[in-house]
Each structure stands twice: as structure tokens, then as C-alpha cells.
């Protein structure tokens, strides 16, 4: 079996690696690193064969069982393994929101979570909200209000929008809620703040807020 960590590390260092501070690989490089050299992982660890794990969850109410490299994010499991490409990869680092999906009814960035951490979860993606022939009313409202342009952030916006209405109805406050002890209202300012984790570079924000407001209003 290949060694898992460099031999130069002391036991204390190995243990420290399990806290927030540093990793074995990083420390090992310190001795011979030159600033001009591309950072690279410790060969011993990186040369390990992929470690696979089984995970089962439902996606859009359909049970799925996957045998995955543990490194696979939920986003890549959806796009590359289940071919559910409606969920988009915009940044892969939690900076744009294009990968937003609903897990157990809660919106999250699917790029910053491992697929294997979702054993037993119920996942809803844009494909589960509606189809071109049978659209969710949020999807219909986005078309009506032209709440998109290039379409790439759109599935994430729509998943987020559906969840935002639920979050407001559940009384979860936001940064702009005037009174923390009160109940947040379904108003444009609240929608804008709560949707701010979904970047739209085409700049469809004003229309997106109109679409969400229409759907929220029809529920009230």
C-alpha cells in the first residue's frame, strides 16, 4: 500500500492536520518549495487510486444508486453521472449560485457538497420542477417576465426563487428584514436580498424580481 502521508511529519503534525490549520501535503512542501514552482499535491496521496463509495438518494422523486469516486460533488454527480445538466456549473466554488438545487426542500449550492454526503436525501433539480410541456409556475413566470437572457444562471435562479418564497413564508429573517422579532414580508427588497446568491451577468435582475413577485403574489 502506498504511504498516505510524508514520513517527515511528526505525529503532532498529523493530528494537527485534522483541525482547521494545515494539511500534511502543504507542510511537506514547505521544505523544498520555490515560489516559481506550481503548487502540487503530495505525490503519495495524489497517486492513490480513486476511492469509491456507494450512495443512494432520490432525484426528482426517482431513486438513484451511484457508485462514485468520493471526490464527486453533488453537482458533478447530477451533470456527469445522471446527465441532469439543467443544474449549471458557473464557478464550482460557491461564488455564483448557478448550481442551486433543493435538498430536503432546502436550497444549497450543489458544487460545495459531496455526493456521498447525501445518502437518503431527496434532491429536486430544475428538471424536477417542470418540463417544457408542463412548466412549474415559477418557470412560466420567468418566461413571461423575460427573467433570463443567456439562460445559464436561470435554473439556479428558479430553484432559488422557489425556495425563497418558502423561506419568507416560514418566517426566516434576512439581512433587510427591519424587525428581527417580526415576520418578514414578501416584498421586492426581501426578494432581492435573498436572491443575491444567484448572480446573473446578463443582468435580468429587475425582471426576475417581477417574476418572483407575481408567483409570490398569487400564493398570498
Amino acid at each position: 500500500m502506498q504511504k498516505l502521508v510524508p514520513s517527515s511529519l511528526s505525529r503532532r503534525d498529523l493530528l494537527a492536520a485534522s483541525t482547521a490549520s494545515l494539511t500534511g501535503a502543504v507542510l511537506a512542501q514547505a521544505e523544498d518549495a520555490s515560489p516559481e514552482e506550481t503548487a502540487h499535491a503530495d505525490a503519495g496521496t495524489a497517486m492513490r487510486p480513486p476511492i469509491r463509495a456507494q450512495v443512494s438518494f432520490t432525484v426528482n422523486d426517482r431513486p438513484r444508486e451511484l457508485d462514485l469516486d468520493t471526490r464527486t460533488t453533488l453537482l458533478d454527480a447530477l451533470r456527469e453521472h445522471l446527465h441532469l445538466t439543467g443544474t449549471k456549473k458557473g464557478c464550482d466554488h460557491g461564488q455564483c449560485g448557478a448550481c442551486t438545487v433543493l435538498v430536503g426542500g432546502v436550497r444549497i449550492n450543489s458544487c460545495l457538497t459531496l455526493a456521498v454526503m447525501h445518502q437518503g436525501d431527496a434532491i429536486i433539480t430544475i428538471e424536477g420542477l417542470g418540463t417544457p410541456e408542463n412548466m412549474h409556475r415559477m418557470q412560466t413566470a420567468f418566461v413571461k417576465h423575460d427573467g433570463y437572457q443567456c439562460g445559464y444562471c436561470t435554473p439556479g435562479q428558479i430553484c432559488s426563487a422557489v425556495a425563497v418564497i418558502g423561506e419568507i413564508e416560514a418566517g426566516i429573517p434576512s439581512h433587510v428584514t427591519p424587525d428581527l422579532t417580526g415576520t418578514p414580508e414578501l416584498v421586492a427588497e426581501e426578494i432581492r436580498e435573498r436572491m443575491s446568491g444567484n448572480i446573473c451577468r446578463c443582468g435580468a435582475y429587475s425582471n426576475i424580481v417581477d417574476a418572483i413577485t407575481e408567483v409570490a403574489g398569487s400564493r398570498a
Binding site: H40, P49, P50, K89, P155, I191, Y205
Partner: protein
């Protein structure tokens, strides 16, 4: 079809479909996640391997050693492409810098290797095992420092003359009773489109197909063939959906080349998406500018002298940011000069971003106009109207084809409540907020470019349009369907539009706000041919035949158009080509931007409260999607005003904030409800569609309107974008 005389009455003027605010026909696909983007073609290519791009770790210098041994042995690795093993590569006509670097490195994060593996995870991990040593060389990374060494480059079609002189600017400026001489700076900007540059490449023998994300299919096809040294007819480029471009996907980029090389090396299809942290430095950006503007005016507000100089930088062999271009056309004034200078920098390649030239140029010019208006004690709306012109100020023989600048400004002022603005800065408060209003003109030229299309009628009466035109969010699918429906007299549901494929006729493509007018004019031309053939087959005189309700009609006789294709599909292909109307008439689009901001009196945070744009851009083909183009451009302009800046490390030569956390673009909370008004206008000089571009007009001027509003709120004039609080905090009123 040659368009060389002003358009007269034609079937588009019926406006039964064209001009209507139809929902986008691709909306149901985009909103359900079923529109396929470049990385998502699992249905056509089942077994793609995954590529991971390695970017150079220095700005300029050489790779002295590249050790691939460990990476090649890593689990799942199929091949590694580097300049060493890629074979002889050319360079595309539209690229300044090579797309695959090594051993020479021309800029930070220039691609130097592609690691291909069975899985994404394996490719990424193996890339971490590639060891590269560099010998860095000193480079020039600071525009301000390099300004003195900037030269006047050879002019070309894109730049126009680098120096212009009309009358005697120096004398008129010296004599003017009211003058402004101020210097403004705009930073490097990143397109930051949401879909990363991505390509899936597959070879079949000598033939290469790439599914990619590109605005200009014909450019990509030619440049890919040239770079690989293969025949263009052996290259097919497919790009039906594009997750944003803004100029960043005008050109062949590293993802396409690397995927093609990777697929050749791996002997199987390979897909590559540039990792987000690479994009800002690996691809192109809008170059920073330093702009000096001098304006001299009489006390009555008449401009007598106007001068605009701009300095920008680029890689060796690169080009100018043409920030002075609008100043040659926007305002009257007998004595004028412009100059552009280019410094050699070793930052990543500068190139077009939404409204190149005018976007940064208007950021400066329209602050300058505000400053002069204040010195004259003339309302800034009026000051602009006083200096309106109906002719090209450099060539009074040459009128504008249409110019509704004054109307845009007047209507905007009325709608925005401009008369409520206190011209004295720093006087309006709303709680903790200092309130200000700002105005700016909007200006962007209209460009005419040959554009082709193919139209097919089948026996069911379905009309199919094929063109290599792209839809980057602009609404091309929809306006092309509207055009064909109007021309053929069928409902829009009876039109199928197929875009973004090099197998289709070459179109104008998407850029420079030229896509909508030219591509629909090309469809118009093909439809004229199809109408003629249908009329001929059904025995109508094509001159007299009317196409309506799925029928051809003349006098009392009517036949369903489908009957013409009963024996087989009818196909017509044509392109629109332009005569000298754009030389005889200056064709431009105009607008007025109105913005209200609040500036926190303590922290200096600036937040936009209201935005209005009034636009005159010829016939608006679809008011719904056109409005979206304008609000989107206003949003990008808001970013340019208040936050966007690629921060340059001038020691190490790269853009430091190279991801979407570091390079801040506006989020929902930054953008209020936006209003857009289109002035009723048709421009018969532009094309049979009588339309002009609008997608870039919306960004031109808006940042200056924000800047002027911040000044009106605070009384502090900031001439360096973005207008962030650190630049004026110490000049705000005392709050302690």
C-alpha cells in the same frame, strides 16, 4: 440581396409579428434546464474524457522544466497535451497571444498544459502533479508607469484614425471662457459570463467537430483550422446555446484548441471547461484606460473646443481600446481633436468587451460633460441638448440617419422627475442617505455587416431558418422567428430556428450590437427569395403576391404556402450585403440615462435607487427582449460604476481577484427596478428591417450617470472608476 438604397415599404412594416413583445421561443428550454450548453452534449457524445487546464504561474518568461512523469502515471490519466507534444500550431487571425503557451510564457495563466483523464476528478488531481519550473523575466504591468512609452499605432479598420484634428483646438481651447481639463481612469474589466468557456471536441478521421460556446462561428471555424493547420472544411463548430459572452467569446479561446488537441492525443472525445479561477487571466478582458478630456465652451453653453486623448495597453501585437470614438460624433464643436496611444504591457490579452471603445469612453466623457455643465451653471440635460448636432461634426456634409438624442434626454428628464434634482451637490438627505441624481447621454454606433441565412418550407407549411447566427442571450432565436413569420405570413409557431452551426450560412454573428439588425436582414433576404419561389411554383406574380395567414394571395386567388412544397421542400438562401449608405449617413444609436443614488453619509456606501434609460435605436424588433438587453447593459454599467475592477499586481503581473468572489459584479440587491423607454423610430438607412443595435447602447453612459449622481449626492468628484468608498470617504461630511 444588396441593400444600397434607403428601405421603402416592405412586408416587415406590417408589424403583425415583428415589433411585438413575444416571449422568447427558447424560454421553455432555458427555464427548464433543457437547453444544451457546450459541456452538456451527453446525447451526441457518450464517452468524452475530461480535460483540466493548467495555466502558467508567471506573467512573462520561460518554462525551464516541465515534469509530467508523476502526472502521467496518476490513476485515470490518458494523455497530457503541452506545447512540446502538440505539434506545430498556428495562431488565429483574431488572437493576439498564442492559446497554448510554452516554452515561452506570454501572460499569467496562459494555458501551458491540458491533463486528460477518465474522470473530472482524476484530471484535476493529476494536474496537481505536473511540476513546472519557470525562469521569469521582467515585464511591464502598470499602465500609469508605461503611459510615457505609449506610441501611436498604425490605424486599422477597427481603430479608425489614431489622431484626428478639426479646426484649431489649441487656440479655441485657450480662448474659451469656460474650460475643463481633467483626467479620468477606467480599470480592466472582466466579462465574467456565467458559463465558463467550454468545448467538447471529437475527431472522425480528419474531421473535427467542436461543440462550444462562441459568438462568432465563422471566426472560430477559420481560426481553429488555421491554428491546427487543417482545412477549414474539416472543421465543424456547433454552438446552439451560449451562456453569456459579452465579447469574451468572440474569439477562438484555449478551451477549443485544448479540447481539439486533447481529443487527438487521447484518441477519443474530450471536453474542457476553463476553471473559473483561470478565466480572468487566461482569456481576454476590457483594457484599462487613462483619458484626458479638455472641453472649452462659451458662457451660453456652446462647446467651441473638445479634445479627448486616451492611453491603453496591450500585449505586443495587440490593439487599442478606442475610447475616444464617440467624442468624434456625439457633440457639436468647431474645433476638435482626439488621440489614442498604446503602451506595451505583459498583462493578459486585452480585447473587446460589450461596447468596446464607447463603454469606457462614455464613462469619462459624460463625467466631463457634467463637470462643464456645472461650471457653466447650465442644467446638464440642457447643456447636452445645446450641443446636439444633426450632422457628423467632423464632416457636416454627412448627416445622421436618425438622431433622437435630444428627445431621449427630454423625455427621460420628464419621466424621471429631473426637475426635482437640486443642482447644488450634497443638499438632499433621506435619513442616513445623501441622495443624488445623475444624467448621461448614451451613444453607440450601428454597424452593418454581411449576414446570410437559409430558409426552408416543407409540405406541412413549417418554415425552418438556418444561419450560423448565435443567441448569447440577446433573443436571436425569437427575433429571427418573428422576421421569418412576418415575411412568410405564418404564425411564429410555424417557424423553426436553428442557429450556431458552421454548416449553416455565415451570419454577422453576435458582437458590437450588430447581431439583431444584420442577422434578421439576412433572414429577410432569404425569405424574399423563398417568397419568389413559392409564388412562382403556385403561379402568382411575386410582385403582387401577399403572404398572410399561411397563404399566398393575389386578387381573389389564394393558396396555402404549404402547397408549394407538396412535391418536396423548397430551400432559399441569400445574404444581406450593404452599399455605401453607412458612408453617406452616420448611423448611430442614442439614449439618455437617468440614475438616482443614495450614499451612506457615514460609510460612503453608494447604492442605486432608481434607473431609467430612454433609447432611440431604430425599429425595436421585440420590445420584451430588447428591454432585457438594455436593463442587462445598465446592470453591467452599474457594476463598472461602483465595483468592477480587475486588480493588477503590478509586481507579479496578473489580475489578483480572478474569481467571482474577488471580482465583484452586481447582485440582485444592487439593482433596483429599472425602467426603459424606446423612442418611436425607424431607420430606413440601416437595413430592410429599419432596426439598429440596442444591446450595447444600454451600457454606454450609464456608469457616468451613476458617477454624476454620486457627485450630486456628495459634492465629491471621483474621476477614477470604480467609484468605491475609499476614494471619497475622507471628504464626506463629518459624522463624529
Amino acid at each position: 440581396m444588396k441593400f444600397d438604397r434607403p428601405a421603402t415599404q416592405n412586408p416587415i412594416d406590417r408589424l403583425k409579428v415583428v415589433g411585438q413583445p413575444l416571449d422568447r421561443i427558447d424560454g421553455p428550454l432555458k427555464t427548464t434546464g433543457t437547453a444544451p450548453y457546450a459541456y452538456e452534449h451527453h446525447d451526441v457524445v457518450a464517452d468524452a474524457a475530461y480535460g483540466w487546464t493548467i495555466g502558467a504561474g508567471i506573467a512573462i518568461g520561460r518554462i525551464t522544466r516541465m515534469d509530467l512523469a508523476e502526472a502521467e502515471r496518476a490513476p485515470g490519466v490518458i494523455a497530457i497535451v503541452t506545447a512540446d507534444n502538440a505539434g506545430l500550431l498556428g495562431k488565429g487571425d483574431h488572437n493576439t497571444v498564442r492559446l497554448l503557451g510554452g516554452p515561452d510564457v506570454q501572460h499569467y495563466h496562459q494555458a501551458v498544459a491540458l491533463v486528460i483523464a477518465e474522470s473530472f476528478e482524476q484530471a484535476r488531481a493529476a494536474a496537481g502533479l505536473v511540476k513546472i519550473d519557470y525562469a521569469a523575466e521582467p515585464g511591464v504591468f502598470d499602465l500609469t508607469a508605461a503611459k510615457g512609452s505609449a506610441i501611436a499605432p498604425e490605424p486599422n479598420e477597427l481603430t479608425g484614425p489614431v489622431d484626428t484634428r478639426i479646426g484649431d483646438f489649441a487656440a479655441a481651447f485657450a480662448e474659451a471662457p469656460v474650460t475643463l481639463d481633467a483626467t479620468y481612469t477606467t480599470p480592466d474589466h472582466s466579462h465574467a459570463m456565467m458559463e465558463p468557456h467550454a468545448t467538447l471536441a471529437a475527431w472522425e478521421g480528419d474531421r473535427l467537430t467542436v461543440w462550444t460556446s462562441n459568438q462568432m462561428i465563422a471566426w472560430a471555424t477559420a481560426d481553429l483550422a488555421k491554428t491546427l493547420g487543417i482545412a477549414p472544411e474539416n472543421v465543424r463548430v456547433v454552438s446552439p446555446f451560449i451562456g453569456g459572452g459579452f465579447g469574451g467569446k468572440l474569439f477562438l479561446r484555449a478551451d477549443v484548441l485544448l479540447a481539439a488537441l486533447g481529443a487527438r492525443a487521447a484518441r477519443r472525445p474530450v471536453k474542457v471547461a476553463l476553471q473559473r479561477p483561470l478565466i480572468a487571466n487566461n482569456t481576454t478582458h476590457r483594457p484599462a484606460t487613462i483619458q484626458r478630456i479638455r472641453i472649452g465652451a462659451r458662457r451660453d453653453g456652446t462647446i467651441t473646443a473638445i479634445g479627448h486623448e486616451s492611453w491603453s495597453g496591450d500585449q505586443p501585437g495587440g490593439g487599442l481600446e478606442t475610447a475616444v470614438s464617440q467624442t468624434r460624433l456625439l457633440y457639436a464643436g468647431a474645433n476638435r481633436m482626439t488621440a489614442m496611444r498604446l503602451a506595451e504591457l505583459h498583462l493578459p490579452e486585452g480585447n473587446a468587451m460589450r461596447a468596446p471603445g464607447e463603454a469606457p469612453g462614455m464613462m469619462a466623457l459624460e463625467i466631463a460633460m457634467d463637470e462643464v455643465a456645472e461650471k457653466l451653471e447650465i442644467d446638464p440635460v440642457e447643456f447636452r441638448i445645446i450641443n446636439d448636432t444633426s450632422v457628423d461634426p467632423e464632416n457636416p456634409e454627412r448627416p445622421f440617419s436618425a438622431r433622437a438624442l435630444a428627445e431621449c434626454l427630454r423625455q427621460g428628464a420628464e419621466r424621471f422627475g429631473w426637475n426635482r434634482r437640486d443642482p447644488r451637490p450634497g443638499r438632499t438627505r433621506d435619513g442616513r442617505w445623501l441622495i443624488g441624481m445623475g444624467v448621461a447621454a448614451a451613444f453607440r454606433n450601428n454597424l452593418l455587416i454581411t449576414s446570410g441565412a437559409r430558409v426552408r418550407l416543407d409540405g406541412t407549411g413549417q418554415v425552418t431558418v438556418e444561419t450560423d447566427m448565435t443567441d448569447i442571450g440577446t433573443g436571436s432565436y425569437t427575433i429571427i422567428a418573428q422576421t421569418a413569420a412576418e415575411m412568410m405570413g405564418v404564425p411564429v409557431e410555424r417557424v423553426t430556428v436553428r442557429l450556431g452551426d458552421s454548416d449553416f450560412p455565415v451570419s454577422a454573428g453576435s458582437g458590437g450590437q450588430f447581431g439583431a439588425n444584420n442577422s434578421t436582414a439576412g433572414v429577410y433576404a432569404a425569405c424574399v427569395k423563398l417568397r419568389e419561389e413559392i409564388a412562382r411554383r403556385l403561379g402568382f406574380n411575386s410582385e403582387a403576391a401577399e403572404f398572410e395567414n399561411g397563404e399566398v394571395r393575389s386578387g381573389n386567388r389564394a393558396m396555402p404556402i404549404a402547397a408549394a412544397a407538396a412535391e418536396g421542400d423548397i430551400v432559399a438562401e441569400d445574404k444581406i450585403e450593404y452599399g455605401d449608405l453607412s458612408e453617406r449617413y452616420q448611423q448611430s444609436t442614442f439614449g439618455g440615462h437617468f440614475v438616482e443614488v443614495g450614499v451612506d453619509i457615514a460609510t460612503g456606501e453608494a447604492r442605486i435607487r432608481r434607473m431609467l434609460a430612454v433609447c432611440a435605436a431604430g425599429r425595436i424588433l421585440n420590445p420584451k427582449s430588447a428591454r432585457s438587453q438594455v436593463i442587462g447593459a445598465m446592470t453591467m454599467g452599474a457594476g463598472a460604476a461602483l465595483m468592477e475592477e480587475l486588480a493588477v499586481d503590478t509586481r507579479r503581473g496578473f489580475f489578483v481577484n480572478h474569481d467571482l468572489a474577488g471580482y465583484e459584479v452586481p447582485v440582485h440587491a444592487d439593482i433596483p427596478h429599472q425602467d426603459v423607454i424606446f423612442v418611436d423610430e425607424t431607420d430606413p438607412m440601416s437595413s430592410p428591417m429599419k432596426a439598429k443595435g440596442v444591446g450595447e447602447l444600454g451600457i454606454c453612459g450609464v456608469a457616468a450617470a451613476v458617477a454624476n449622481a454620486v457627485y450630486n449626492a456628495t459634492g465629491v468628484r471621483v474621476r477614477d472608476y470604480p467609484i468605491t468608498l475609499d476614494k471619497y470617504l475622507d471628504r464626506l461630511p463629518d459624522v463624529a
